[in-house]
Amino acid sequence: MSTATTTPKRPSTLRGARLPKWAPWAIAAGSVALGLGISAAAGLHSSIQWALIAALLHVFGTYVIAARVENRRQAKDRVVTSLVWVAFLLAVVPLASLVWSTVQRGVKVLDVYFLTHSMGVVADSETGGGIYHAILGTLQQVGLATLIAAPIGVLTAIYLVEYGRGNLARSVTFFVDVMTGIPSIVAGLFILSIMLMFDMEPFGFAGSLALAILMMPVVVRSTEEMLKLVPNELREASLALGVPKWRTILKVVLPTSIGGITTGIMLAIARIAGETAPVLLLVFGSKFINANPFDGAQASLPLYIYQQYGSGEATAYDRAWAASLTLIAFVMVLNLVARGIARWKAPKTGR
């Protein structure tokens, strides 16, 4: 009824002044150039500084230019766009630097000798030595942890998805969540307090126990997700044939989701393989090869990196980088293989 009175007649045109397509790039290039110029003029050397200046100029410049040529709404939109790009680029720099410096410095001493020798008779300030003992320790500790955590984790997930309904299931779910958040050093302290009780010296398996505590909730969570993806029709079809529930789970549910469960376990292994803190408290580290995880201090890869770094020698730094590269490679291979399995064995849930 009162349509015409309150609504201001807008300009009927759909056309608005628009910045050309190349404008954002031009502004970006301009601000980088200006950032470099200002830094050079002021004698600033740090790349962090000119990058920050350029980023600020870019965001600010975009707003001013867009607000003049277009309108405030467009200007806001463009500022957010440039902020988002700037945030992305700023975050890429350290992460790329991390990968780059690890690779570049890691390859210096990384060779077959390095992988097959221990630090047995090598002082930190000397060249030579290797990580054989550390790799051995990590594989044993992580392997034992997996042997403990994987079955418990998978069984717990089966309980939660296939059986659990009451208070017990609810509290297990809750405490699995809580457990996910335990700092690794606290898990280490827990095992340590037991060891103090029985007056035990550090040994590899103690580390495995702490790592298993860290691994269990991760396995439970991922397995749970995978089991939930198995369509109920499959279970019902099997049960309707008179197959007992436990055989249904073993023969129908688990095979359907085995790919995803494997992926979850491998990702969990990748996570604990890099844990340092509990190993530091419980396994203590060693320069020698100790193939018995149940007796005496052992080395481990992440701990080796920490201790080589801690010695403060340039030669030790080289070894620390090389060990880092080895560790990253190990973790990445696990990750890639795990994801490969996930893609290859993805349960077909489509209907």
Binding site: M1, S2, T3, S12, L14
Partner: protein, 258 residues
């Protein structure tokens, strides 16, 4: 306010797939035009090209012209954001903003487009809700979330939100397909009232609905699955439903296929 739409030679793609081919038609202002046709014939795609929503989907691309009172929506220098303000849209499933109150939902479009005084804003919100035949049902709970309404009320809330910014054209993509018969009737009555002020284009699967609400009806069809959809004919609704000029239209309407 209502404007005429003139489409000529319009073809739309999803990536390399051609969804609709070479469509031309004219939609008169202050009328209701219904699009009917079998599933997948491209009527919704075509509707979405009329306010440049098609290009939002990945790979969406359009060739041809859509004139809104002589101005080409796909011309150079046209801002798709302004196009969508002039050509409002109501979707298949009611989609009020779940975190906003009823009032804020209706005011959402206005707040984007400049500074309104509070009293001005509540006037427009009230007028829009009345225009959508929803005012009496919600006037006591304007600050409650819009998601608490029934499906039919939510759809009318979405219509109120669309008409609050006074668009020239209102596009409706199967607005009643998720609603029960009573809510459907309410929306159909509302469409009859809204055509006094807006140019309305509605996509529907329900032929009785097309016959009830529209002045003109366009029939879309596709020759085979995977082929682009085409406009078969557009004519006065009465003629389409009593004496269509193309055999395929008659087959479809009489239920011989689709």
């Amino acid at each position: 306010m209502a404007k005429r739409i003139d489409v000529s030679g319009l073809t739309a793609y999803y990536g390399s797939h051609k969804a609709i081919e070479d469509i031309s038609m004219t939609v008169e202002p202050r009328s209701v035009t219904a699009f009917i046709g079998p599933s997948g014939c491209g009527k919704s795609t075509f509707l979405r090209t009329l306010n440049r929503m098609h290009e939002v989907t990945s790979g969406g691309r359009v060739e041809g012209k859509v004139l809104l009172d002589d101005e080409d929506l796909y011309g150079s220098g046209i801002d798709p954001v302004s196009v969508r303000r002039e050509v409002g849209m109501v979707f298949q499933r009611p989609n009020p903003f779940p975190t906003m109150s009823i009032f804020d939902n209706v005011a959402a479009g206005l707040r984007l487009n400049g500074n309104y005084k509070k009293s001005e804003l509540s006037d427009i919100v009230e007028r829009s809700l009345k225009g959508a035949n929803l005012w009496n049902e919600v006037k006591d709970r304007l600050n409650k979330p819009g998601s608490g309404l029934s499906g039919g009320q939510q759809q009318r809330l979405c219509i109120a939100r669309a008409i609050a910014v006074e668009p020239n054209v209102l596009l409706m993509d199967e607005p009643c397909s998720a609603l029960d018969p009573i809510s459907t009737l309410a929306i159909e009555d509302l469409i009859g009232e809204l055509k006094e002020r807006f140019t309305i284009v509605i996509v529907t699967h329900n032929m009785q609905q097309a016959a009830r609400v529209s002045d003109r009806t366009a029939f879309f069809n596709l020759s085979a699955v995977g082929q682009p959809g085409k406009l078969i004919e557009i004519d006065d609704t009465e003629r389409i439903f009593s004496n269509p000029s193309v055999q395929a239209t008659e087959d479809y309407i009489s239920g011989r296929f689709g």
